[in-house]
């Protein structure tokens, strides 16, 4: 409750809070993509031969693929030769303590409200910071190492744990799964790798803050999380980006593998630059996220709070392969001004008595378009599968749109599939009532939206939930009146 009021107090600024660029010298590759660029990236990262071969194969597949046209979004054609595929901060020596981190960078994180030191010492969150392409700082490694947990930059995992990476990379999202996953596989820069050994419950939330920083640099993060039998991990991903004019492409791939009795909770707060009120600038966020419940009784839970990006195209999915496995998707997607979001999930029921739960809360304001696209697929062998979907839309104003595209493919008669949908509107009556109680319109919208999104926000770890609430409020500023 005390936090709530602190949040509302913060709901005052009107411009994109995180719009600034940090001056850190960058080491850039010229624009454009070719086999040489793929080789360059692989070499920069001192990768083994098999990794390069994997990237090159993906590149060849990508050349033959086309951009998907089915999402309910429109944007100017992307020229993939105009993108810079590699950038890294100049100071590249590996760092052991925060003192060694570029002070500019620390200042950036302070502005973002992510005081690394505090996080490190007070909250017990291990932070793997990715500034553009190179992971700069990973904390808590030693403590985690005692438990046999691996939490490190993907590039390091490729060098230090090649057997694990080789076994799992591309096993959930094949390189040729879609246009953007192929592109990511060819040129991915860095990301996080997590391995939780058998029976280990990861004692802290693992957290990564991504931040796009170099001008014109596409971001191609690659994250892989493997939870071995009976293990548990909660992983947090948060994003903010500086304000700029050119559109920026982001095409990440996240793969999750949960073995027997394992559980993975993956939470995202996404706040990339959405573009200005006229729709200028902003991030194109084309992400492939998928998890597999490989073993019996395993569980994967996606929670996302999407407030940023000019265009979002994202469907965190779960393949429910193990018997009695559980997949969950909790989402709040906010669009304002001219933002477009086409997001949802896919739940693939393969194992017996598998269960999935989808809670999607779309919030549209301004002239934005917000689409939910969800597929629940029950295979013939998926005896006793159950799904529950709740898709709610909240409209603020008259010029925005909310759309739902629920797809059902049920091939087993014993399956139970339930779908509920509601659409509501923050109308004049409600706003006036709040005004009459001394609450201005902006705060009223924040209050109502946070109430509406509570079921999803409750899924987030505490400190993340607070951040998410702030983002909801900030991203809807100026949406009414």
């Amino acid at each position: 409750m005390a936090q709530d009021s602190a949040i509302l107090d913060e709901v005052v600024q009107n411009d994109y809070k995180y719009g600034f660029t940090t001056d850190i010298e960058q080491d850039l590759l010229p624009k454009g993509l070719s086999e040489d660029v793929v080789r360059f990236i692989s070499e920069k990262k001192q990768e083994p031969e098999w990794m390069l071969a994997w990237r090159l194969k993906a590149y060849q597949q990508w050349l033959k693929m086309k951009e998907p046209a089915w999402p309910n979004v429109t944007y100017p054609k992307i020229d993939f030769q105009e993108i810079i595929y590699w950038a890294s901060p100049k100071k590249k020596e590996s760092l052991n303590s925060l003192d060694e981190v570029d002070p500019e960078l620390l200042a950036t994180f302070a502005k973002l409200g992510i005081p690394l030191e505090e996080q490190k010492f007070l909250t017990g969150v291990a932070v793997d910071v990715v500034l553009d392409s190179v992971s700069i700082k990973t904390t808590f490694q030693d403590k985690l190492a005692e438990l046999g947990i691996i939490f490190c930059p993907m590039s390091e995992a490729i060098r230090e744990h090649p057997e694990l990476v080789k076994q799992y990379i591309g096993s959930v999202v094949p390189t040729n799964d879609n246009f953007y996953s192929a592109l990511n596989s060819a040129v991915f820069s860095d990301g996080s790798f997590v391995y939780i050994p058998k029976g280990v419950r990861c004692p802290i939330e693992l957290s990564t803050y991504f931040r796009i920083n170099a001008r014109n640099t596409g971001q191609f993060e690659r994250t892989l999380i493997v939870a071995d039998e009976g293990s548990y991990v909660s992983y947090l991903e948060g994003c903010t980006a500086p304000q700029r004019d050119e559109n920026q492409l982001h095409a990440a791939v996240v793969e999750l593998v949960a073995h027997t009795d394992a559980e993975i909770k993956y939470s995202t707060v996404q706040n990339w630059y959405p573009g200005d009120k006229e729709g200028k600038g902003g991030i194109f966020n084309f992400v492939t996220k998928r998890g597999i419940c490989q073993g019996d009784r395993s569980k994967i839970s996606w929670t996302q709070v999407e407030t940023g990006s000019a265009i979002t195209w994202k469907y965190p999915s779960v393949i429910l392969k193990g018997d009695h496995s559980i997949g969950e998707f909790y989402s709040v997607a906010v669009t304002n001004h001219l933002q477009q979001a086409d997001t949802g999930t896919k739940m693939m029921h393969i194992g017996k008595n598998t269960r999935s739960r989808i809670v999607s809360k779309g919030i549209s304001a301004g002239n934005s378009q917000n689409s939910y696209r969800g597929l629940v697929k029950v295979l013939k062998v998926a005896e006793g599968a159950r799904n529950f979907s709740q898709c709610d839309s909240l409209l603020i104003g008259d010029a925005c749109g909310a759309h739902t595209f629920p797809y059902l493919e049920v091939a087993n008669k014993t399956a139970t599939v339930e779908h509920e949908a509601t659409t509501s509107k923050i109308g004049e009556d409600i706003l006036f009532y709040c005004n009459q109680r001394g609450i201005d319109t902006e705060s009223a919208v924040a209050l109502i939206v946070n109430g509406y999104a509570r079921e999803v926000l409750n899924q987030l770890p505490m400190e993340f939930a607070v951040e998410a609430q702030k983002l909801l409020a900030i991203s809807l500023e100026g949406s009414v009146g």
Binding site: M1, D4, N435, Q436, G438, D440, L447, G451
Partner: protein
Amino acid sequence: MTPILQITDLTAGIEDREILKGVSLTVNPGEVHAIMGPNGSGKSTLASVLAGREEYAITGGTVVFRGNDLLELSPEDRARQGMFLAFQYPVEIPGVSTANFLKTSVNELRKFRGQEPLAPAVFLALMRERMKLVEMDQSFLSRSLNEGFSGGEKKRNEIFQMAMLEPILAVLDETDSGLDIDALRIVAGGVNALRTPTTATIIITHYQRLLDYIIPDVVHVLWDGRIVRSGGKELALELEKRGYDWIKQEAAEVA
């Protein structure tokens, strides 16, 4: 003594239709005014205009509230300066608990007065105390504001909010409608308990029985956008007996 509220020749309406056709009313500290009048005469419109609802255009007249031009202020600033409207039809706000709503509201008012937000424990204690005034159960605090509340519960909730916000001027728009006999007594008791020599209340009602519990200083009859008659509480009794026809006739004769 400066009046709390001074309305002079107020005219207001929507688009091409005038609803308030010249209302004048002065409310002094410590007073309770009752406004009665047939359906559609403009009582709720007057309340909405005072609270700052934008859909009504003010076409003439002045409203001075605590020495300031009320019509200049945004609805939230009016509330922060002590204007409270108990709505005839309170809205439901799904997902926002009564407690959270009130905490936001109370702290906004405190902020305006340069006070710190109340500590959660203090706030909770205050809510518990004020709920007792209208005999509302604590379980309502965690429920979404007015969602699924019965008609009577919504009305009690309005008075509970009034008790929390401690307004200088409270306008109660048919707070008695839909209340059973016991609830009427309880709600009236709550309103009476909140009366102070420095605050005032305007009660919009159709029934004189409420005025048995809350004794008004003045009773006004609003008819076709004008206050056509004012008197003591016996006027309410007379209206109860005779209806509005005689007043309409009188008003017509004058016009």
